[in-house]
Symmetry: C2
Subunit: 346 residues, 2 copies
Amino acid sequence: MNSQSSPDIARSPLTVEVTRGPIVESRHQVIAAIADADGRLLRAFGPVDTPVYLRSAIKPLQALPLIETGAADAFNVTEKELSLACASHTGEPIHVEAVTEWLNRLGLGIEALECGSHWPSYDVAARALAARGETPTAAHNNCSGKHTGFLCTARHMKEPLKGYIGLDHPVQQRIVRVLEDFTGLDLAKAPVGTDGCSIPTIAIPLDRAATAIARFADPSKLPTERAAACHRLQKAIAAYPEMIAGSERLCTALNRAAKGRVIAKVGAEAVYLAALPEAGIGIALKALDGTTRAAEVALGALLDEFGALDADMHNAIDRFVQPELRNRNNMRVGELHAVLPPRTES
Amino acid sequence: MNSQSSPDIARSPLTVEVTRGPIVESRHQVIAAIADADGRLLRAFGPVDTPVYLRSAIKPLQALPLIETGAADAFNVTEKELSLACASHTGEPIHVEAVTEWLNRLGLGIEALECGSHWPSYDVAARALAARGETPTAAHNNCSGKHTGFLCTARHMKEPLKGYIGLDHPVQQRIVRVLEDFTGLDLAKAPVGTDGCSIPTIAIPLDRAATAIARFADPSKLPTERAAACHRLQKAIAAYPEMIAGSERLCTALNRAAKGRVIAKVGAEAVYLAALPEAGIGIALKALDGTTRAAEVALGALLDEFGALDADMHNAIDRFVQPELRNRNNMRVGELHAVLPPRTES
């Protein structure tokens, strides 16, 4: 347990403070990179060359082959289903029903999903399931939409369905190629971990992740078909924000209020990627300690810094990005806020 | 949101690493102090003069007036109830029933509790409640045992029952005196926040918190009646470890396996206090980012460092303090481990 020597601990001037009464009770450090589609780093907080598992934040790029292979058109995949393919959803009935219906159209059942099962992350949905005497299936897994998209692609390409989660399977190899295209990196030697849903997750330096999501935001210099696929996913997420997450989730509130001006996606261990199509920039961030509350607050602060939040968007997302802390008697006992260094210091 | 200047960010050489595949995915910094009952600081990690809200970790000291006022004896409070008075419980039936029965003996109902309500933190208990068509009451609040102890004391002292959560109420003032006695500090100007259950939480430098819990561990130099009260609480927690937390909780597993050799209590925002009666020392720690997983792993490492864990205890607690990360298909995808600097460096 104590045998390893600790490498230098990364630090960042971008912090999220959790206050209670007169003092800061806890503090998070967040690394963040903001880049444009040409790979120019516009702003950096902390060591943004650190390889970061992007986890589910990269799902919109993982969904590109679903469109680019022709699978989406061949199986009449709807906009709602495209949003679901990019989702970390809350396991609510709208998600589970949509996954089941899409699988049926592929001639498949829930047992084809290799993501494993877990109780819905949205407590109300989990308790409702329990109250009906049911237990969760793989369709309730927050990644079930992405996995259904993988199965749809594999079926269209006449590839084996079994084992589609393995790094060597064509489904995953196509995603590696997409990530190499968007980051400009050779990922053959990049660190590879296994995600919660059992697919590979590839560590990518945060500055290149920002570039990748900037290219998704502004795909004008990409091949025409790829650019069209990016626009189609952006449109789908903006049109069906409830499918990409669910009740009481920042991704849904933000993508709904932004109406396409911001496409944002969270990943486990406090990653956020955000595409700003109008500005043609991408934001990539990670709270070093892996705490989602910090990633949400930092994302709000960076969107604000870039003038990406209007009053309606603030109304929709401030309870996530500038939250009050309220206790069990609903008394206000503290707050979370981001602390950004002045622009000249970064 | 961005207007505040950030103070220097505390750092600590004690870290908890979260690995996935070949790399560290997230990292926590933990400050910790180990002291004896004479106030000697035996070991320090990071800035241990930082005032820290001890939150629920301090509950064993908050329970002392229940015994010292004579309330426990006057109302035939059992050992099981004394453990419950120190608890952050999981809202399981054993906790809720014990609170209800104790309140009844005081001639009170659940509505006397001023802690507010929330769904049980133990998912299985929450879903079982939902499956029965019920919703949680204040008895399900993880602090309901402590609050029942407060009501018991107030009733015995013939003090107003209403408003017992206020800093000026004698119940809370007695606790302030206990904390001043144990820390040796004048707390009149200490930062005071409001806890989740609405009582005051007082920020105390971590080194003095370690001294306080060392004095609870080895009360031999305290007045006889106070020493007896400390021993009585230690014995109660060791005898009824399921009451101090519940299913799938480190506090219960550790206090059970330790059989009185360690008395440990978690607090919100990643605080842990541990009393080691045989060695006469106290451990106080806080993960700076407020993440409980880091506090648990760090506690295990520090207990190990002081030779406080035998094989049985390791068996009981390693899944909390040296956890594997397993995904939704139960594949091992990573682990958490503490990284301690060598003793000479601290």
